[in-house]
């Protein structure tokens, strides 16, 4: 399939080039990768249904009991497949990060959570119903029969209960009541839920009977997903953290509660980090080691130093300004597509609010553009909440970028990313940057504000592929 797609596009490109405006070749490559991954995940769902059909499943719908049982098997197959897709999306696969970015992958992961749960709950309910009809027994009696007479069913019920716990704990309202670490610990139960549900699939599921091809396919799926999780979530981050020996080399005060951390280590170039990317950091001090925080690079990575700029937000990250130098730092990453790799056009517009300036600053440092080809917009509720403003001014002067600083509170009740008076005067992204339609727009700031900027960019007819933003609320 891969070969087919690439042949298809290489043939078409020369014919297209003269008519359409040039699109960055890196963008084309990325979209081909994204297309391939999406097609593969859709086909994986079709494949499990096909396995059911190949086993003669299509004729097992003639009686109500058969129909319920068949639907139950189907929903179990599709639900499990979606669950595996979700696990892969959260496994930090480099391919997925490169194609969609970590935040987009996690958004898809989240959106699959409820459908997968409903399918698996349906799987249980339909099979209990189908079996009860076939056996002519009541639902509770049937559940009891399943638990006592069928192999591995108690574990399967435990798995389903765990899955319900995981999904319910992730519903926004519930999630807000817990601290991130508690929620995350509950979330890791999903691994246990998947593991304990495997035995009954192999023993009770006649479709995946011993020696059949589909059994090997199914096992290969699980092995592939488990291998990816182990490798990319645990082994690689651990090995990198040990190998690069990252320590805090200096803490520079930027503003009250805001600091830049300089981190040094060995052979950091081998990480292949790009400006605009983030790592998930863990600082090994008594109060902080149990928390991991995603922070973006605030300087283009080079040599053996990485720099992040962070605002201590509540809890333990408020302790970051007092971090002693020499503190060991472990990390996962680099991640994210808020980088030069996402570029589609030669012009660039960088829009930041508050501490969102961090990745914007590193992008400004190393993004490719001609002098005059870049505009930087810095937003803050008040001038005191503009961070790294001096550094940004110096960088803009050096690289020939236009800098606009806009301070002031946003109007209440209106979705504007600009201050009250500017919004009232009808100022928009298009009026601030007339050629925004031909530029890549990078936006970093709080969620609601980012949404407002993105909406404004869309209103200015900036094509979707030119709008880049990253969320950190996954």
């Amino acid at each position: 399939m891969l070969a087919l797609m690439s042949i298809d596009t290489t043939r078409r490109r020369p014919a297209r080039a003269p008519s359409a405006p040039p699109v960055h070749p890196a963008y084309q490559r990325r979209m081909r990768l994204a297309d391939t991954l999406q097609v593969l995940s859709v086909v994986s769902v079709a494949l499990v249904i096909a396995i059911f059909l190949a086993d003669g499943g299509a004729v097992r719908f003639t009686t109500p009991a058969d129909a319920l049982t068949s639907l139950g098997i189907l929903s179990g197959l599709v639900g499990s497949d979606l669950l595996l897709v979700m696990l892969l999306l959260a496994a930090r696969l480099p391919l997925i990060d490169r194609a969609f970015g970590h935040d987009r992958a996690m958004a898809v992961h989240q959106s699959l959570g409820k459908p997968a749960l409903y399918l698996l709950l349906g799987h249980g309910a339909l099979l209990i119903g189908g079996y009860a009809l076939a056996d002519n027994s009541t639902l509770p009696a049937e559940v009891w029969t399943m638990l006592t007479q069928l192999p591995d069913m108690p574990l399967a019920f435990v798995g389903l209960a765990l899955l319900v716990t995981v999904v319910v704990s992730s519903i926004v309202v519930v999630r807000r009541r817990f601290r991130y670490e508690a929620w995350h610990a509950v979330h890791l139960l999903a691994y246990a839920a998947v593991l304990v549900s495997i035995p009954h699939q192999l023993s009770v599921g006649g479709l995946l009977r011993d020696g059949s091809i589909q059994r090997y396919y199914w096992l290969a799926l699980y092995a592939g997903v488990a291998g990816s999780i182990l490798l990319f979530r645990f082994i690689i981050p651990t090995v990198r953290s040990i190998r690069h020996r990252l320590v805090v080399a200096g803490v520079d005060r930027v503003a009250p509660g805001v600091v830049s951390l300089r981190l040094t280590g060995r052979g950091l170039r081998k990480l292949n980090a790009s400006a605009g990317q983030f790592f998930i950091w863990r600082f090994w001090t008594p109060g902080l080691w149990w928390q991991a925080h995603p922070f973006s690079l605030s300087a283009a990575p080079g040599g053996d130093t990485l720099r992040i700029t962070v605002r201590g937000l509540g809890d333990a990250s408020a302790a970051l300004p007092t971090l002693p130098t020499g503190t060991r730092v472990s990390f996962e990453g680099p991640y994210g597509l808020f980088t030069e790799r996402a570029r589609t056009s030669p012009r660039i517009v960088l829009v930041a609010a508050g501490i969102g300036v961090a990745p914007i600053r590193s992008l400004l440092e190393s993004a490719s553009f001609e002098p005059g080809g870049a505009t930087v917009i810095l937003r803050a509720p008040s001038p005191g909440e503009l961070y790294l403003a001096d550094e940004m001014a110096a960088l803009c002067a050096r690289r020939g970028a236009t800098l606009r600083v806009i301070a002031g509170h946003r109007p209440a009740g209106v979705d504007s990313w600009l201050p009250v008076d500017a919004a009232a005067a009808g100022i928009t992204l298009a009026s601030l940057v007339p050629d925004v339609g031909e530029a890549d727009v990078y936006v970093c700031g709080p969620r609601r504000w980012t949404d407002a900027v993105v909406a404004d960019a869309r209103a200015a007819h900036v094509p979707t592929r030119q709008i880049h933003y990253e969320r950190f609320d996954w």
Binding site: M5, F52, G206
Partner: protein, 162 residues
């Protein structure tokens, strides 16, 4: 998802589903080739006797004297098709009594069927041995297994002129 990706995903999915369907139909055709024989045997058994001579394909056994006297030996019943797989039993008769029933094949379409038949078979055997006939009670939760078991048993008994 881009249009091209959606189109490609839809196309590939349809192809995969069609292949699965085709394989399923072929499997069904193969099963169909086999099943008439099975059903024929089943019905022959159901209508009892008539050409009972065809059935006792079973183990050696002392030839059943057609008319009177007590038959003895091992007689294999016909394979009865059920929704959860074929069921076939053989019966051992000695001195005019049923001394043993062996399940040759039990419902095994999936793990559940296997569990059910494993539970039902010993119970059925006991009941048949004590009732000395195929008219015993249905085992709760194992209706299909029971029906297949007793039908196959009856065909074996018919063959033995028991």
């Amino acid at each position: 998802m881009r249009k091209r990706a959606s189109a490609f995903a839809a196309l590939a999915s349809v192809a995969v589903l069609a292949a699965g369907w085709e394989l399923g139909v072929q499997a069904g055709v193969q099963a169909g080739v086999l099943s008439p024989a099975g059903t024929a045997a089943g019905t022959a058994a159901g209508t009892s006797d008539s050409s009972g001579a065809a059935s006792p394909g079973g183990a050696p056994a002392a030839a059943a004297p057609a008319a009177a006297a007590a038959p003895s030996g091992t007689f294999t019943g016909s394979a009865v098709q059920t929704r959860f797989g074929p069921v076939q039993v053989s019966v051992t008769i000695a001195g005019g009594a049923i001394t043993d029933v062996t399940a040759l094949r039990l419902t095994d379409r999936d793990g559940k069927s296997v569990a059910i038949s494993n539970r039902a078979a010993p119970v059925l055997r006991e009941e048949v041995l004590s009732a000395q006939s195929a008219s015993v009670q249905n085992i709760g939760g194992a209706t299909y297994t029971t029906e297949g078991y007793l039908q196959s048993l009856q065909s074996a008994l018919d063959a033995a002129n028991f």
